[in-house]
Amino acid sequence: MFVRVTHWITTLCFFALLISGAEIVVSHPRFYWGETGNVLTEPLFKIPIPSSRNLVPTGYGYVMPDQNGWSRALHFQTAWVLVLTGLLYVIVSLITEHLRKNLLPSKADLSWRNCVGVIAHHLRLEKPSEADASSYNVLQRITYLLVIFILFPSVIWTGLALSPAFDSAFPATVNLLGGRQSARTLHFFITLALVLFLLVHVVLVWRAGFINRTRAMITGQSSNREEVQ
């Protein structure tokens, strides 16, 4: 059950972070590499949208409404909820062996034959089999592990690197990333990777039967009344 609860808390947090993060980007839709960057320096790239600040020359003749106040407050408060939920998830996953049993691929899962089989199955756009409803296949396991143990920690790391106070206590947080503006740009790209995961995730759930699978993720019951998690 904790998997389902933490899944939906994370979902809510992700959307709140995405919307508030986008609002913050609107106040300066330019990205840089290195330590410093501002309207006097050459950007790595720009997002061609109007800005919510006068300072940024966007080529549009108008300034969007400034939403940074509540966006920042929501962003950081939600980040707290997400980080605490994530910690709880990892701790409980270790205790209940959810991690070992359901996410770590077994030797058999990782065999060449099995991997090719699962990939071919996906490429042929076949409907998932009955077994897929109660256990994750090898691609799911690897993807979920990547999201949980690489993408989320990276997005938290690059986010923390943008905190001047945190950087004063742990300068390596930002220095290892090549500077403050690099950290900001990486934060943006890791977010895009998470959005990409979300899109693929939803499409695959859709193909597996959206209503049925979503109900299962909420109630724990799949249509044939089996306990899923």
Binding site: I24, V25, S27, H28, R30, E35, T36, G37, N38, V39, L40, T41, R53, N54, L55, N68, G69, W70, R72, A73, L74, F76, Q77, T78, W80, L162, S163, P164, A165, F166, D167, S168, A169, P171, V174, N175, R180, Q181, R184
Partner: protein
């Protein structure tokens, strides 16, 4: 109701009670050790409080990153400000010769300093980054006198909890706690990159608080008030920032 669900109910109840009393104890301790920011109320109060409390515990004595001379930005950005008031323009026309910094509140000797007087104290410099909440940043060398030096001169009371600082321009004031006010990198700056602090960057006098975002480094400073009571100022949230939806503590 099965036995299992009743047991679950009791455990959950106990856990909730323990959780709530734990929170109560935590809130009490946080208040006692100064871990609660003035803007702790409202929808986003819990987040602001968690952030401020954690950063106070983690960063009490940590130093903002300093950079080498070669990393100083070629062109320090002059962020836009509202059109100057007539009062400011008069000081500007007189080259800020009669600009005063008034320091009062919980101090033994309320004092008014001229910029030249401030310059007569041992000057210090730091090469730090100005970080805007919008996302941009630049590195500059800042010359000035540490806030702690001024607080020593005026004899700030040991019970004081905050230093409020005011721009000459209307509705522009902030405050910092004593951990930041006494921090060695908290400056009243009058110079930048080896010359006078340009008006565009906050001259004649600007606060530098490099462990927090740029909006805490208020420009055109002419007054400090040392106090133990945030309620006396504005809506009692510590500064104008929370009144406009921004965090009082901007170390993130």
């Amino acid at each position: 109701m099965t036995k299992l669900s009743r047991r679950k109910l009791i455990t959950t109840g106990l856990a909730a009670t323990a959780g709530i009393s734990g929170l109560g104890v935590a809130a009490h301790l946080a208040q006692k050790y100064g871990l609660v920011p003035p803007d702790h109320g409202g929808l986003y109060g819990p987040g602001e409080t968690l952030t401020y409390a954690s950063m106070r515990l983690l960063t009490k004595h940590s130093l903002a990153r300093e950079f080498s001379r070669s990393q100083i930005s070629k062109r320090p950005l002059e962020n836009e400000v509202a059109p100057f008031s007539e009062e400011f323009k008069r000081f500007q026309a007189a080259k800020f010769a009669d600009w005063r910094l008034t320091v009062d509140g919980m101090v033994a000797r309320p004092t008014s300093f001229s910029v030249d007087q401030l310059k007569s104290y041992p000057s210090q410099s730091q090469i730090t980054e100005v970080v805007c909440e919008e996302g941009w940043s630049y590195v500059a060398e800042w010359n000035g006198v540490p806030m702690s030096h001024i607080l020593d001169l005026v004899g700030a009371h040991p019970q004081a909890k905050y230093v409020f600082y005011f721009s000459i321009e209307p509705d522009w004031w902030e405050s910092m706690d004593m951990a930041d006010a006494l921090h060695p990198q908290t400056f009243l700056t009058y110079g930048m990159n080896g010359s006078e602090l340009p008006v565009g960057n906050g001259g004649p006098l600007r606060v530098r608080l490099p462990r927090q975002l740029g909006y805490k480094s208020v420009k055109f400073i002419n007054r400090l008030i040392v106090t133990d009571d945030v309620k006396k100022f504005g809506k009692g949230l510590g500064s104008v920032s929370p009144e406009g939806g921004y965090a009082w503590y901007a170390g993130i």
